[in-house]
Amino acid sequence: MQRISRREFVKRTAFAGAMLTSIPALIEACTSGSNTTSKTTKLTIAAVQGAEDGPLKKVAPMYQSQTGITMEVVEFPYDQLFEKLVTTFQANGSSYDLCMMDDPWMPKFGTMGALQPLDSNFGFTRDSDIPSIVYDVGTWPPPHGPVPPSEQGKSKHLYGITIVGNVEMFMYRKDLASTAPASWNDVLANAQKFNKSNFYGYVIRGKATNPASSDSLPILWSFGGDIFDSSWKVVLDSTASIDAITFLTQTLKKYAEPGAENTDAADRDRLIAIGQAFQSTTWPAEVTGVVEAAGVSQVAGKMAYIPIPQGPGGKGLGMMGNWLLGIPKGSQNGQAAADFIKWLIKTENMKTYVQNGGIPTRTSLLNDPTLGQSNPYFPALAQSLAAQPNWRPRTDQWNAVETIYGTAVNQAVAGLKTPKDALTAAAEQIRTAMKQAGYPS
């Protein structure tokens, strides 16, 4: 065997190393080149991990068998999905052909110009069987309500199609109460009536930031309060807003579970499912995933689902939490991605999707009695959608606002601050944040 010098050894090692490290880059270069030139063979979907993407994963193989296009669903937990999408959009990356988006993310993505317009590019039109609010939530700039200053005057386009028609609702034990609570006063009366040792009259989802925010917003709105008025002026410290949060964090809290300030959706579902609580707000995924799940829940069939009860002004406002499918600007398979969305929202395919646990947006499916048997909340969801539920303020600053607001509500639930002090401080922080972002707060 021929001996080699140390210098020769280093030289050869360096050469071999360079060759090995460049192989992935060469492969990537070859594959990305083929994407642009040939027919689409694969669609990659960035999806949220959990009940929301479960049905999508089940029906995607059907599309694959019909079209021959490989469907890859890449899942991320909620927070990571948002971060992943933002960083991908900032880089105009082509990693994903479709992305699942929570509806409060639309302002951020719309402002960034991160998505391909579905109406002008791919011919999407509104379907009368799908409530108009569902299309509105996927439209940017928003077709009603205040528009962010930077987006005023821009032409409106549809950027997302709802595939999970979430609206926040209300649930209570129908086996214990014969009539549904029509107002928050009824909710309070029931909480007082049914509260006893180890059985809580009401469950507050009060964990800091998003949970506390989501749980309290329908009450805030139903009491006539809000975070912004129609011209982006912060009104979180108004009397109506303070009254709403005082009602939740002091009046109703007397009958709520201990540790409400640390309760998230899973804890709430657990309390309801083991028969230790009477009522709470809820999301559809919680109903099918836990509360009505046979073998998991002790109260399956014992719960009733209704739209959010009315506040003192006689109005009950649910909150939208739709999950949409959109096509990132960087995708090189826009048409194929649009074809998949069109396929998915066809009535017969959406029915299959619902049979696999999906939450529909079509009124005909929500009112279908056969589907309603296994999804007892469908009528309430149809009513909630028809009543035009509120969406979270359409601003790209929503994440910051939600964090500030959700922390303030948590402070009030924990008793660290009075509702008035918590909301006054939060309003001031939101004003500062919005002013820095160019809003006239």
Binding site: R6, R7, V10, A14, G17, D79, F82, E83, V86, K108, K207, A208, T209, P211, E257, P258, G259, A260, E261, N262, T263, D267, R270, L271, Q276, D396, Q397, N399, A400, E402, T403, T407, N410, Q411, V413, A414, L416, K417, Q429, A433, Q436
Partner: protein, 297 residues
């Protein structure tokens, strides 16, 4: 010119080889550490559209009251976890070093001590929640069964208890690290010194004070450095256990910076915070290394 050329010594073959071997590592450090650091500094003095704004991001970061809440929370957290972990780790190390003789048993303890270090922090957070959660937390059930408490303790909702709860999870995970470092340090103490001290009548405290501590001192510096850096990175279990609540009581610097970057999407302020934290901790490290010199004196 000639003088300059004469002053420039040609590198020997071994030196050239050494530099070549170092090159990949230096290149990696340059790409992974230096370039991002320079980018962070540029980002910290830039607006979202890339225009230079001087120190405006720094003044915004320093003017935000939530920063001081986060600093306070991180300070309290460090003051709980660092001394506790060092004291417990030292106690275990001395106990095993002085009382456990069979090598097999020592090896078993060694393996047990490694286990918490390899468990993902997210999993530890989830287990922590099962321990402390209201209504189904194991700890409350045990305390109520033995009659220690009669009402549920709100471990994650009370500000003081929430901080202790998140700190306890850290202590559980990282005390074994302190134990392993100090135990390995105790192995380096020369047997002759100990025997000589024993012959002179030194009790266990004198042995520890004048012999063991002398050999462990540089390791304390190492532990403080590592653990301080870890405390700055603590995220997962706090996020799962309390989400920073109640209010902002357990919102440590890492969680606060995450929120500034990924919730507020204020990358300028987040970069300014990162630079401020880096500079402050560099100064803190310098002060600690002066107080705890690396060399044995």
């Amino acid at each position: 010119m000639k003088a300059a050329r004469a002053g420039r010594r040609r590198l020997s073959r071994d030196e050239r080889l050494a530099y070549m071997l170092l090159l990949p590592a230096l290149g990696a450090v340059f790409v992974i550490v230096t370039i991002p650091f320079v980018l962070v500094i540029i980002q910290s003095i830039s607006a979202e559209d890339g225009t230079l704004v001087g120190f405006r991001n720094y003044s915004r970061a320093l003017a935000n009251p939530l920063l001081y809440d986060a600093i306070r929370a991180t300070g309290v957290y460090s003051l709980i976890v660092l001394p506790t972990e060092i004291l417990l780790g030292l106690t275990f190390a001395l106990l095993v070093h002085r009382t456990v003789r069979p090598q097999g048993l020592r090896a078993a303890i060694y393996v047990l001590a490694i286990l918490p270090l390899v468990v993902p922090p997210v999993a530890i957070g989830v287990v922590g929640r099962l321990v402390y959660a209201p209504s189904y937390g194991v700890l409350n059930v045990i305390l109520e069964r033995i009659g220690f408490v009669h009402h549920e303790v709100n471990w994650l909702g009370d500000p003081t208890l929430a901080m202790l709860a998140v700190a306890s999870v850290d202590i559980w995970q990282w005390t074994p690290f302190v134990y392993l470092v100090l135990f390995s340090g105790l192995q380096t103490v020369p047997r002759e010194s100990v025997e000589a001290a024993q012959i002179d009548g030194a009790d266990w405290w004198a042995q520890f004070r004048y012999i063991d501590l002398f050999y462990l001192r540089p390791l304390f510096l190492l532990i403080v450095f590592f653990r301080l850096a870890d405390v700055l990175r603590v995220f997962d279990h706090v996020f799962i256990l309390t989400g920073g609540g109640p209010g902002t009581t357990t919102q440590l610097l890492s969680l606060y910076m995450y929120r500034v970057e990924f919730k507020y999407f204020d990358s300028g302020q987040a970069a300014a915070l990162a630079v401020l934290v880096l500079v402050s901790f560099s100064i803190l490290y310098r002060l600690i290394s002066r107080a705890l010199p690396l060399e044995r004196t």
